[in-house]
């Protein structure tokens, strides 16, 4: 097993809710509430969940665009959880972000050359044949015409703009790329192009990805391991194959069965799990297991004791009192012990 590039322990982010003239704090949105995971070198970790589950906040925390309320973020052995902006600067070379919306994440008044060249200027990086040449090489790498160096973002289509955004993240040869919904704003045929590009770049440049998305099929395609989030917690974390073949958490099961399948044959036969209602507000999440209000397996214990995230099979962590597809008791810890 390769070593961890990034590890996160008990990470929390609470956004204060204030009221009145004196901005008295009356509560907190617990966007991320105690999550732990690690990202290994060269892998792709997928993070899925519905809106409000904290996946985007997680992405912004590990890139340190925002400061955590609690917990630890360790990147390459250094604790960066509360590092100052000045000290973070060299780190920004190593950790980059791809944004969801290729329309609002590119400055419309800057040329492509200026946008992709900005990281060099900001970081004061000297390139062998000048910045222009370096930028053109990167543009070619992501499948754009290097001649378009002097064009503006509005001259490109959505898919091409997303490629510009990717080119910008690649400029300084980062070690970790956090992609927040990298394809959800794109048309289906373009989504596939960008997914393939991300995979090619990973193979060529030995990149590590954290891909945040709500689309379960895209995440399965691109990820090695997948974390499922619900209301600020990770409820299940496993290898992509295990998670999709034998999901253990009821929420993961419900999510998977809710995805519409583009096939007319299976439409009657498929067994469905239908969750009732919406995701509760993260301002006032249910106590103990946060999923108990919508869970069909919930019992008294789920309302009183929060289930910890434990490893039930090798590399398969679940936070549930009544997991499905769980191996018989006894063999799981032995296996886990053997690999450790």
């Amino acid at each position: 097993m390769s070593e961890a590039l990034l590890s996160v322990d008990g990470l929390q982010k609470h956004f204060p809710v204030t009221k009145g003239l004196l901005k008295r704090q009356v509560g907190a949105v617990k966007a991320v509430d105690g999550i732990s995971f690690e990202v290994r070198k060269g892998e792709t970790l997928g993070v899925v969940g519905e809106s409000g589950c904290g996946k985007t906040t997680t992405g912004r925390l590990i890139t340190r665009l925002i400061e955590p309320t609690g917990g630890k973020i360790v990147f390459e052995g250094r604790d960066i959880s509360h590092m100052s902006q000045g000290k973070l600067r060299p780190l920004r070379r190593d950790v980059q972000m791809i944004f969801q919306d290729p329309y609002s994440s590119l400055n419309p008044r800057h040329t492509v050359g200026a946008i992709v060249g900005a990281p060099f200027r900001i970081q004061g990086v000297q390139t062998e044949h000048g910045v222009k040449r370096a930028v053109q090489d990167i543009l070619a790498l992501v499948g754009l015409n290097p001649e378009h160096y002097n064009r503006y973002p509005h001259e490109f289509s959505g898919g091409q703009r997303q490629r510009i955004g990717i080119a910008r993240t690649l400029a300084l040869k980062p070690k970790l790329i956090v992609a927040d919904e990298p394809v959800s704003a794109l048309d289906v045929s373009i989504q596939a192009q960008v997914v393939n590009l991300l995979e090619d770049l990973q193979n060529e440049l030995d990149l590590t990805y954290v891909v945040i998305a709500h689309d379960l099929s895209v995440v399965r395609h691109i990820s090695d391991r997948v974390a499922v989030m619900y209301l600020g917690k990770i409820v299940e974390l496993a290898d992509q194959k295990d998670l999709y073949k034998s999901p253990m958490h009821p929420y993961t099961n419900a999510l998977l069965s809710a995805v519409p399948i583009p096939d007319v044959k299976g439409r009657q036969g498929r067994e469905r799990i239908r969750l009732q209602g919406d995701v509760p507000s993260p301002l006032n999440p249910p106590p103990a297991c946060r999923f108990h209000t919508r869970c069909w397996k919930a019992q008294e214990i789920c309302k009183q004791v929060e289930p910890p995230l434990v490893e039930l099979a090798t590399g398969h962590e679940v936070a549930c009192h009544f997991p499905e597809n769980a191996p018989a008791k006894g063999d799981a810890p032995a296996e886990a012990g053997a690999t450790a």
Binding site: V188, S189, I190, V195, H214, V259
Partner: protein, 345 residues
């Protein structure tokens, strides 16, 4: 073709003159639909699918759009009908569910009041009667405590609840034709599943004709009897769900199927995207609009670039717009496309 369809669209063209040239958003579209049936219209951005739906509702009337062709709804022709007449049909005869309920509901009025208003436009009843009817509708679409929720404002609802309220508003006058434009795109996947179930149940109960417009092939497969695939303002393939998903014949449909990672199959090593991007509707490519992106264009011996293919029946009502012959298309699908889609690791 049978004598009369409930909805029959014939050679519909909706063109918009702009400073840059004529935008042919919909260019010669024909389809039909019966009561109790569902038609799915699939396409990427700019394919003309939303313009078609607005055109049926007459929402381009009185603007700059140039509309020609015929839209027959229950024996009435709508393209030549007056704006006032079409307006009187809206809500009662045909209704629409929009993508984003937050921006399509009025933020200053309570949800209940907006449903009451929609009801009283077509029914001369007192406010109390209308209120009762609206509460019944909210109950039907699965909003808990409808009496209390009647007085809530749209911002107090969650996304799924707003979409339910939107559906209640569309169905309050018991319309015969319901058009849903990307009804679940803004929703989370578990809520999307709830809304799709709801729409299926309500359609059965109300026996309405439903047109569902989306870019998501999964959503279309869940709901539709017939499917129309649009590209560059034209239908490029039209058939039953089984035609489109089990024996698709157009290279664009193949491309869409190859672009989607799927949960019901073993993952493929790589996705098979369509090269390039959707065309601009001002400079639609010559000949077949899809030819610059089509992997099989060389096999048309230059016809792809020069001639616009016709929408021709392949078999049993399955229509395809492609220069390749039926046998060529079937051979390509069986030998070159299908095995790749199902290839496993």
């Amino acid at each position: 073709m049978t004598d009369e369809h409930f909805l029959d669209v014939k050679d519909l063209r909706i063109h918009f003159p702009t400073d840059d040239g004529l935008v042919k958003s919909v260019d010669g579209l024909s389809f039909h639909l019966e009561r109790g049936k569902t038609l799915g219209i699939v396409g990427e951005s700019g394919s003309g699918k939303s313009v078609t739906s607005l055109g049926i509702l007459g929402l381009h009337k009185g603007g700059h759009a140039k509309i020609s062709g015929e839209i027959w709804l229950d024996g009435e022709e709508l393209v030549s009908a007056s704006l006032d007449h079409v307006r009187s049909l809206r809500g009662k005869k045909m209704a629409m569910i929009f993508q984003d309920p937050l921006s399509s509901m009025h933020p200053y009025y309570s949800v209940g009041d907006q449903i009451v208003e929609a009801y009283r436009v077509h029914n001369k009843v007192t406010k109390q009667v209308a209120r009762k009817h609206a509460i019944d509708m909210l109950d039907r679409v699965g909003i808990p405590q409808p009496e209390r929720r009647f007085d809530s404002y749209p911002h107090e609802f969650s996304g799924g609840m707003r979409q339910r309220a939107m559906i209640a508003m569309a169905l309050v006058n018991n319309p015969d034709l319901l058009i849903a434009d990307e009804p679940t795109t803004a929703l989370d996947v578990t809520v999307q599943a709830q809304i799709l179930d709801l729409m299926r149940d309500l359609q059965r109960d109300f026996n309405a004709a439903l047109i569902i417009i989306t870019h998501d092939l999964g959503v279309v497969a869940e709901l539709s009897d017939d499917i129309l695939v649009m590209y560059g303002g034209k239908a490029i393939e039209y058939g039953t769900g089984a035609d489109i998903f089990e024996r698709p014949e157009h290279p664009y449909t193949w491309g869409l199927l190859g672009s989607m990672p799927r949960l019901d199959r073993e993952p493929t090593e790589r996705l098979l995207p369509i090269k390039g991007s959707p065309p601009s509707l001002i400079n639609v490519p010559s000949g077949c609009a899809f030819h610059p992106r089509c992997a099989f264009e060389p096999r048309t011996h230059g016809k792809g670039k020069s001639e616009v293919p016709e929408l021709i029946e392949s078999e049993g009502g399955h229509l395809v717009r492609c220069h390749l012959t039926r046998d060529e298309r079937r051979a390509i699908w069986e030998t070159e496309i299908k095995p790749n889609l199902e290839a496993t690791l």
